[in-house]
C-alpha cells in the first residue's frame, strides 16, 4: 500500500517537471535572535526554519493567485482557512495545504438569492466547525458551515452606544467557548465590540481609559480653541486584530500607538498595560497579560523610530504566543511570563522573509505566515532547538520540573546565551542545594532577585563552616580599630601643643578630630594651621579613590554586573567637579559678603569635611560584597549617613572659617548652590557652542575637500 502510494507520488512528481519544492536544507535568510537583560541582542540557533513557500498554484487553486490575503486560521483538524480578501473568497486547505474548497458565494436564508463577500478580512472557526467571516465592506458577519452552506448572517448591531458617524466595518473577530463574539471594527477606538451568541450588542470591551497628563492640562489652559483642535488628540487605542485562546481570553493587538509612547514604555520596562501593543483581555476586558520578562512584549528593542507594529497573535500552546510585526516583517515569540524566546523573519525576496506580512497561525509544530504582498503562504518547520524550548516550557507548565530542567540543559547546550535557560537550570540547583552553582547560573541569567536568595543560603553555609573564626576575626578587627583611633587621638592631642611645621600624617589625622569636634576643629584648622593644602588634596583624592573602589569592588547589590569599566571622567564628574565648583563659588560669594576665609581656607575646610565619606564608604563597599538583599537598608543608611555628616561638616566649616552666624551661613550656602548650578549651566552651553562650531568647521572643511 505504502509502496504504491509512493510510486504514484513519484509519477506525479515526474509529471510536475524536474523542479520540485525547495530542498529541506535551503539557506535560512534571517538570523534568529533574542535580547538579554540589558537589551543586547544575541544570535541563537534557528527555532523555526522555512520549509515551503506556497503560491496559489502550489495549493492547487486553479485560477487567480491569492490577492491581498489578510487572515489565516487553523482549526482543530489542522485544516487551513485563508481569507483571500482581494478575490472576495475564503479558501479551505487540507493539512498538507491542498485545496479542499473555495467559498465565493452562498445561498441566503430564502433559499434562492446568492450572496458573496466584499473584502472578507477576518476569520474564525469554532470547534463545531462553523466558519465566522468578517465580511468587512458588507458590514456583516457571515457564519458558514463546513460544506460552504450558510448558517446565519449577523448584520450590524444596533445600539445607541455607538456615536454619531460610527461606521461598522468588522475587520477581525473571535468567538469564545461560551459563544460570545468579539469583533474588531476598523477605526474604532472604543475597544472590542462584544456580541452575544445571537449577535446582539453586549458592550465594548477593553477600551483604554485615557488619563490626561498634568502637562496636557496645563497646555489646555493656555491654548486657544484653534490650537487645541490642531494638536493631536489624546485618544485611546485602536485594536487591529484578535485571537481567542482556549480559556476564552482574547489577545488583541494594536498598531496605532504613538511611536514615542510605545518606545518609552518598552525602554522603561513598563509592566503596565498602557501603550502595550499586545494585550490579553479577560471577559471583563481587563488586560491580564504578564510582562515579567526583562522587557515588555513589544517587539524589537534596539530601534529608534521604526517600532514594531503588531498585527496578529498566534498561540503555540503552554502559554507561548507569537506576535507578527508588520514594520519589520518579523515574528516575536514570548512565553507565558513575557520572556522573549526568539525573534526571526525580515524583509526580502527570499524564501523565509516577506514583502508584507498579514497573518500567522500555528499548525501544531509548524508555523504558517501569510504574505499579502506576494500572496504566498510560508510554512515554517520547528527545529531541534525549538523543540527543546517547547518541551522545557511545557514540562514547566505541567510542573514536571526534572523534565523541564533536562530540556533546559539541552537548550543551553545549543545556546549558551539564553538567560531563561540559566534560570531554569539554577532552579534545579536551588532544589538540590547547590547554592554556589545556583548563584553562578542566576548571575548568568541576570536574575538578581533569585541570585540573592541563593546567596543568602550560600552565606549561611559558609558562616556555618566559619562559626569559630568569625568572632575571633571580629574581636581582632575591633582591637585594631581601637588601637588605631587611640593612636590618632594621641597624635592630635600632642599636635595641640606643637608649634611650627607639622608632619603630613599629623595633618591628615587631624581630620578625625575635625570629624568629631567640628567647631573647635575648624577654628584650629584655620587659625592654628593644623591642616594643610597637601593633606586636603590627599583627602579629596582619598574620596575619589573610595568612589572608584565602590564602583569596582562594590557587591552585586550595588552594581549587578561584572563588567565594570572605570572611566576616569565618571569620577572626576562625580567628585572633583562638584567639589571644586563648591569651593570656588562659595569663596566668590563669601568674599563679597564679608567672609573672612580665603580660597585656601575654604578649600581646606571643605576637604577636611569629606573625611566621613571616605571613612564610611570603604567599609560599606567591602560589606556590600557580603550583603544580601535584606541588608540593603543598612547600606543605604550608612551611605546617607556619610553624606549627611559631610554636608554638616562643610556647613560648620564654612561658618567657622568665615566667621558667620548660622543664618547668614545658610543663606550664602543656598546662594552658592544656585551659583554652582548656574556655572554648570553656562559650562554646558559653552561646550555645546564649541561642539557646534567644531561641527560647522568640519562641515565646511568637508565641503571644500569634496566639492572642489
Amino acid at each position: 500500500m505504502v509502496r504504491t502510494k509512493w510510486i504514484l507520488f513519484f509519477a506525479a512528481m515526474v509529471m510536475l517537471g524536474s523542479f520540485g519544492v525547495e530542498s529541506a536544507s535551503a539557506m535560512v535568510p534571517y538570523k534568529t535572535y533574542f535580547y538579554d537583560y540589558e537589551g543586547n541582542y544575541f544570535v541563537s540557533p534557528d527555532a523555526y526554519v522555512p520549509e515551503r513557500v506556497l503560491g496559489a498554484g502550489d495549493m492547487g487553486i486553479p485560477d487567480a493567485a491569492l490577492n491581498q490575503p489578510l487572515d489565516l486560521f487553523v482549526d482543530g483538524d489542522k485544516q487551513v482557512y485563508v481569507a483571500d480578501s482581494g478575490n472576495n473568497r475564503i479558501v479551505l486547505l487540507d493539512e498538507e495545504y491542498r485545496l479542499k474548497k473555495e467559498i465565493k458565494e452562498f445561498v441566503l436564508g430564502d433559499g434562492r438569492t446568492k450572496s458573496g463577500f466584499n473584502a472578507p478580512t477576518g476569520l474564525f472557526v469554532t470547534e463545531e466547525g462553523l466558519i465566522y467571516v468578517a465580511d468587512s465592506k458588507n458590514a456583516r458577519i457571515v457564519v458558514l458551515r463546513q460544506d460552504g452552506g450558510l448558517e446565519r448572517i449577523l448584520e450590524a448591531p444596533d445600539s445607541d452606544v455607538f456615536p454619531a458617524g460610527f461606521i461598522y466595518e468588522p475587520s477581525a473577530l473571535g468567538v469564545d467557548p461560551a459563544g460570545r463574539i468579539y469583533v474588531i471594527s476598523k477605526s474604532t477606538n472604543m475597544g472590542v465590540i462584544a456580541l452575544n451568541a445571537d449577535g446582539g450588542f453586549d458592550g465594548f470591551v477593553g477600551a483604554e481609559k485615557v488619563a490626561p497628563k498634568v502637562a496636557d492640562l496645563f497646555w489646555r489652559l493656555i491654548t486657544t480653541k484653534e490650537q487645541k483642535s490642531r494638536t493631536a488628540k489624546n485618544v485611546p487605542t485602536e485594536y487591529n486584530n484578535i485571537t481567542i485562546d482556549e480559556l476564552g481570553f482574547a489577545y488583541v493587538t494594536s498598531s496605532a500607538l504613538g511611536t514615542r509612547a510605545q518606545l518609552n514604555a518598552l525602554q522603561s520596562r513598563d509592566k503596565s498595560s498602557r501603550n502595550a501593543p499586545v494585550k490579553r483581555l479577560n471577559n471583563l476586558g481587563i488586560d491580564i497579560l504578564k510582562r515579567n520578562g526583562a522587557y515588555p512584549p513589544a517587539g524589537d528593542i534596539q530601534v529608534k523610530n521604526d517600532v514594531s507594529r503588531f498585527i496578529d497573535v498566534a498561540l503555540a500552546g503552554s502559554g507561548v504566543y507569537s506576535t507578527l510585526d508588520s514594520t519589520h516583517n518579523k515574528i516575536f515569540t514570548y512565553d507565558e511570563e513575557g520572556n522573549l524566546l526568539y525573534a526571526f523573519g525580515g524583509y526580502g525576496s527570499q524564501d523565509g522573509v516577506f514583502q508584507s506580512v498579514s497573518a500567522l497561525a500555528y499548525q501544531d509544530a509548524r508555523l504558517l505566515v501569510l504574505d499579502k504582498g506576494t500572496g504566498k503562504l510560508t510554512v515554517f518547520r520547528r527545529t531541534d532547538y525549538g523543540d527543546n524550548i517547547a518541551a522545557a516550557i511545557e514540562a514547566r507548565k505541567n510542573r514536571k520540573y526534572d523534565e523541564s530542567i533536562a530540556a533546559w540543559r539541552k537548550v543551553l547546550g545549543q545556546n549558551p546565551s539564553l538567560e531563561m535557560a540559566y534560570s531554569g537550570v539554577a532552579q534545579s540547583n536551588m532544589r538540590k542545594g547547590e547554592y554556589e552553582e545556583a548563584m553562578h547560573n542566576y548571575k548568568l541569567a541576570n536574575d538578581w532577585e533569585h541570585y540573592f536568595k541563593a546567596f543568602a543560603e550560600y552565606r549561611k553555609e559558609v558562616i556555618g563552616k566559619l562559626i569559630l573564626v568569625i568572632p575571633i576575626a571580629a574581636v581582632l578587627l575591633l582591637w585594631l580599630l581601637t588601637r588605631f583611633f587611640k593612636y590618632v587621638k594621641k597624635v592630635n592631642a600632642t599636635g595641640w601643643r606643637k608649634s611650627g611645621k607639622r608632619t603630613f600624617p599629623e595633618e591628615v589625622f587631624y581630620a578625625f578630630h575635625v570629624m568629631f569636634h567640628p567647631f573647635d576643629g575648624f577654628w584650629d584648622l584655620k587659625h592654628e594651621k593644623r591642616g594643610s593644602v597637601r593633606a586636603a588634596v590627599f583627602i579629596v583624592a582619598l574620596v575619589m579613590a573610595a568612589d572608584v573602589f565602590e564602583k569596582l569592588a562594590g557587591g552585586y547589590i550595588l552594581y549587578p554586573t561584572d563588567w565594570r569599566v572605570i572611566e576616569l571622567h565618571d569620577t572626576v564628574l562625580g567628585v572633583l567637579i562638584p567639589f571644586g565648583l563648591w569651593c570656588c563659588v562659595n569663596w566668590g560669594l563669601t568674599t563679597l559678603m564679608d567672609g573672612e576665609g580665603s580660597l585656601k581656607d575654604i578649600f581646606i575646610a571643605s576637604a577636611y569635611s569629606l573625611m566621613p565619606i571616605a571613612m564610611i564608604s570603604i567599609p560599606v563597599t567591602i560589606f556590600s560584597n557580603f550583603a544580601s538583599q535584606q541588608e540593603q537598608p543598612f547600606i543605604t543608611f550608612f551611605t546617607s549617613l556619610s553624606f549627611a555628616w559631610a554636608i554638616g561638616l562643610i556647613f560648620v566649616g564654612v561658618l567657622v572659617t568665615n566667621d558667620y552666624n548660622p543664618f547668614k551661613n545658610a543663606y550664602t550656602s543656598v546662594i552658592s548652590l544656585i551659583g554652582m548650578g548656574f556655572v554648570a549651566f553656562l559650562t554646558v552651553v559653552f561646550i555645546n557652542i564649541l561642539q557646534n562650531m567644531n561641527a560647522f568647521i568640519t562641515t565646511i572643511f568637508n565641503e571644500i575637500a569634496f566639492r572642489l
Partner: protein, 868 residues
Amino acid sequence: MKAKRIVCALLVIGAALALWNPGDGKPARAADAAAEGGDAPAAAGTPSAKLRKPAKDGSLTPAAENDRLRLYFDNRSGGVAVEDKATGSLFYSNPLGALEDAKASDAAKEELMSQISLVYNVKGKEGDLEMNSYTHAMKLDQVGWGKQEQGLTVEMVLGREEQRRLLPQQIAKASFEENVLSFIEAEREKRRILAFYILYTREDLEGAKGKELLAKYPALEKEDIYVLKTSITERDKGVLESSVKKAGYTYEKLAEDYERVGYDGDEAVFPYFKLRLDYTLQEDGLSVTVHNGQIEYDKERFNLVKMTVLPYFGAGKSGEEGYLFLPDGSGTIIGFNNDGSKNTLLTTGKLYGPDYALSQADRGSFKQEFRAPVYGIKKDGSALLAVIEEGDAVAEINGMMGNINHSWNTAYASFTIRNKDTFIQENAFEQAPWIIYEKNAYDGNIALRYFILTGEEADYAGMAGAYREYLVSEGILKKTDPPEQIPFYLDTMGAVDTMVRKFGIPTRSQAAVTSFDEAGRMLERLTGKGVSNVKLRYTAWYNGGYFHTAASGMKVEKVLGGAKGMKELAAKARESGAELYPDVDFVTVSANKAFDGFKPHKDGIRSLFQKTGYKGILNVATLEYENSVWGVDPNKIPDYYDRFAKDYATLKPEAISLSSLGDTLNSNFKNNRQVNREQSMALAEEVLAKADEAYGNVISDSGNAYLFPYADHILNLPDEDSSLSIADRQVPFLQIALHGYIGYAGEPLNLASDLRPAVLKALETGSGAYFKLNYGDSSLLKDAFLFDDVYASRFADWEDAAADLYAEMNEVLKDVQDQAIVDHEQLAEQVYKTTYESGKAVIVNYGDQEIQVEGIRVGPVDYAAVTP
C-alpha cells in the same frame, strides 16, 4: 475622445517610423559618419587597414572555424554568432528577432542588440549616463571589424567622436546677426538657419511663462536671444554647423557668446568611447577580450564607470525550456520566466563579497555571496558557461528575467571600472548627497571565456565539470593524494576577553575557551574514538585572542599556554596524524594598542571620502552595520605577513589557516595609497602563494575563487544558495567543480539548526566532517559578549556524536576522496543523487517519507550509497 486617440496612435506610429527609419535615414547617416569620423578606427592603433564595415543585409559572415565550432560576424547587430557544427545550433551574441519583440520598448530593443553597454559620468556633474553599442555605434555606422587568426576583432566608437559642435546652443540676437548672419549671403540659407532657432524677446517675459523663461535664460532680461530647438536632428545639426563654419564663426567667438548669455555650454560636450573587442575561437568555446585599459575617451571630461559585456550572449527566450545558472552561494538555478510569475527583473551579486571600503547599504535579509566567477545559461539541448578570466575582482554577475522588459532571460557580467560612493554630510548647507568617483580606476583587460556544452554535458553538472576542466588545464587545480580517511575539520577558539574579579576587584583579562592543553586533550579523545586525519584549526590564539591587534607580529597568548604550549600541541597533533592550522587574520584588526604597528588612520582602509573604513559588523536585530573592526590597507598585508611569518617561524609550523583572506576583499581609497579591488586580489594572492610555498598546507574560508591555486582546504564553503523566491533549485556547483582537488566543508555540523539534514547535505556534496567545538564552559562565551555565531560548541556535549558522525560519513566518502563528481541530479522531491568518477553514487533523501528510487530504498531523512 476617439479622435484624440487616433491622433495619438498616429503620432506614436510616426515616432516609431522616424526612429526605425530603415530606408532613407541610413545612407545619409553613413555618409555623415564617413565624413566626420571615417578615420576613427585607424586611431585605435591596430590593423585598421583590414577593418571593414558591417554589411547592410544583416547576414552572418563566417570569420573563423575549428574542428567543432564556426564563428560568424553578425552584420545585424555588430556582434557574433557561434555555430556548433555537429548540431548546427547557433549561439548569438544578440537574440534573433530582438527588434521584433512585442514586449520590448524601443530602448529595450536596442539594448538587446548591443554587445557593450557603458555607464559614464560627466565630471563635476551628478548622475550616471548610459550608452550601448547598438544605439551609439552600430546605428551611427561607427563599427568596423576584421578577421584575425582564429577569430575576429571588432572596433567601435560609441557616441560622437567630435567633442563639440561649432553650433551655438544659445546666442544673443545682436551677436548672432553680427557674427553669423551678416556673413551669409544667400537669403534662403539664412532663413533655413533661423528656422532651427527660437527667438525669445523681452516682450515674452510679460507673457504667462515669463518667469519660467527668465529662470531658464537669465540673459533675456537684457537682450533678445536665439535658442537652438531641441527637436533638431543630428543630421540637421551637421548641415547647420557647416553653414555656421562657412560664415567664419570660431570656437573663440562661441565661447564669448556663451559668456554673454551666461550659458555654461556643458551640453555641447559629446562623449565618445573608442574600444576594441577580440573574439577568439577556442577548442570548446569562445574567448572574448575587451581592452579596457586602451579605451579612448576624453578622460578630462568623463569618467567611465561601468561596463557590461555581451549581456545577451546565449539568452533564452521566455517560453523555451531552460534556466539561468548563477554562482549564488553554492550555485542556483533560475528557470526561464515562462509563466510570468517571477517579478524580480535583475538578480545581482558582487563577486567575492562586499568591499568594506565602500559604504554598505542597509540590508533586509541575509544572502550568500558570489564566490566563483562563472555563470551559465541552459536552453534546449545546449548550454553556455561563462568564466570571467580577467576583471573578476571588479565584476558583478547578473541574472535577468524575461517576460518583464522584453522576452529574453539572460545571465551576464558587468564590470565596475570606477567605484563611486555617496555621502550625506550632517549639518551641511545643502542636504544633497555628494557623489565621489574612484580615481584609481581598473585598467586591466576584461576577458571572458565561454564554453559551449551539448548533449549530456548541457546542464549545471556539465557546467561545473567544464569549469573544473578549465581550472585543471590552467594549472589552478591539482589532484589531491588524500590519506585513507576523510578529514575531520575541527575549529576551536582560544582566548576571549572577560571580567574576572580578583580580590573583589574586577579586572579585564583573557580567559581560555580552549587552551592548547585542552585542544590536545580533544585530539586525544577524538583519536581514541576512532577519528583520524583531524585538521585542527585554532583561532584567537595570538595578539589578544578573539579581539586581536594587527598581525604585524606574533605573541602567543599566555593564558592558552604560550609558545611552548603551542609547540607541544603541534607535536601531539603530529603524533596522532592530525595537523594544526593556527588561524591568522591579515584582513581585519579588532583591537588597537599603541606601538603594535597598526594605526587605524594610517594603516586602515579608507572610503572614497577619506574616512576610516570598517568591516561592518551587522547588527542582527536592526540589520544596520555597526563599526567596530578595522580593515587593513591591502598594501600593508604582504608586509604584515612577512613580519608575522618571521615570528611564526619560531614555532616551526607546518601549516597555516588564512581564513579571512578567502572571505573578504577590500579596496583602499586612501589618497596616495589607493588599491583597487583587482590589485587587492593580487596582493591577497601574493600572500597566499607565500604561505603555500612556506608551509604547504593552507586552509582558508568561504572559497573566493582566487584561493583555488593555493588552498588545500576550504571551510565554510557555501553549500546552499540564497533561497531567492525566483530561484528554482540550489545546486552544489562549487562542490562538483572542486571535489577531488580541494578538501572542503560547509557549515559546522554542530551549528546546524537540524543535524540530520546537515549531515545529508555534507554527504550530498562530498564534504568533510566539520565541527566548531570548544573545550571550555560555553557560558564564557556569554560572559565575553560574543553576540554572533558562537553557540552550541561545548566539546563534552558533542564528542561522541562527532565521532559517530565522522565514522558514518567516512564510510560513505572515504573511497571517493580523490574523485571528481561527474553528475548530480534530482531524482524526486527532496531526493538527490551525486555520482563520482568511479561510478559510486550517493543518494540522499531529505523528505520525511521513505522513498524507492532507481531500485533502491532510501529511508526518511536518510541516504544510500550505491557502488557499481
